[in-house]
């Protein structure tokens, strides 16, 4: 099962990973990462809302490309990449990446790989509402370093 989607209103990670598990009976493991809207940032006011914008002609295409690259690179039986767009609130899932593989390290590494790419190289822009004001999120330097790990 290869399920790659942009979700404008809600993201149900359990049903996606249940389906992945059901459709990958020979997989020995399922690795999952769920990114959430944090209730607070250290030293900053609480997050009231988060808004994810994207660019339709590029964003889903880029996610599909990422899925193909991950399937080439790792021995996967299934891969799920779900990403929210629009307005989200603390606790809401933003992104869910799940991979099924015969042996566990392929699944874990594929999730790690996809998340690094989604963080630094996918067409999303994120802003947070804190103290009644919107703040655009800058890419973290760490995210670029994380991405660089995958380039031989």
């Amino acid at each position: 099962m290869f399920d790659i989607r942009l979700l404008p209103s809600s993201l149900d990670s359990h049903s996606a990973t249940d389906r992945l598990a059901a459709e990958s009976p020979d997989a020995g493991g399922i690795a999952t990462f769920i990114g959430k809207v944090r209730a607070s940032e250290s030293d900053l006011a609480a997050v009231e809302a988060l808004e994810l914008s994207h660019y339709e002609p590029l964003t889903l295409l880029g996610m599909n490309d990422l899925g193909y690259i991950a399937r080439e690179r790792f021995d996967l039986m299934g891969l799920v990449i779900l990403h929210r767009t629009g307005r989200l609130f603390p606790g809401d899932p933003i992104v869910c990446v799940a991979a099924a593989s015969r042996h566990r390290r392929d699944a874990i590494q594929a999730v790690d790989f996809c998340m690094d790419h989604l963080k630094s190289a996918a067409w999303f822009w994120k802003r947070e509402l804190r103290g009644g004001e919107w703040h655009w999120i800058e890419p973290r330097e760490q995210d670029n370093d994380d991405l660089a790990r995958w380039c031989e």
């Binding site: 990114g35 660019y55 989604l118 963080k119 630094s120 067409w123 822009w125 994120k126 999120i137 890419p139």
Partner: protein, 80 residues
């Protein structure tokens, strides 16, 4: 018809609008002139990309948008 310039993410705030229409054809010099000073400055940053007709340009200075094309200004991403 014309060329639509689309301002994505934080670029929208700098531009003060989501999009605008300008006359075709539109090249790199024309784009820099069509947008305000802050956006033009951002466009010179190598981490800001430009897409035309749904394709990210490898060399944004080679922009050559015709009638009906959508030109998207893509600031650095912050996804996941």
């Amino acid at each position: 018809m014309a060329v639509t310039i689309l301002f994505l993410g934080p670029m929208r705030d700098l531009a003060g609008m989501e999009s605008c229409e300008v006359q075709a054809p539109l090249d790199w010099a024309g784009l820099l002139k069509a947008v305000n000073g802050e956006v033009a400055e951002q466009l010179l940053n190598r981490r800001v990309n430009v897409a035309c007709g749904g394709e990210v340009l490898a060399d944004k200075t080679s922009l050559n948008a015709g009638d009906g094309d959508e030109v998207a200004l893509l600031p650095p991403v912050s996804g996941g």
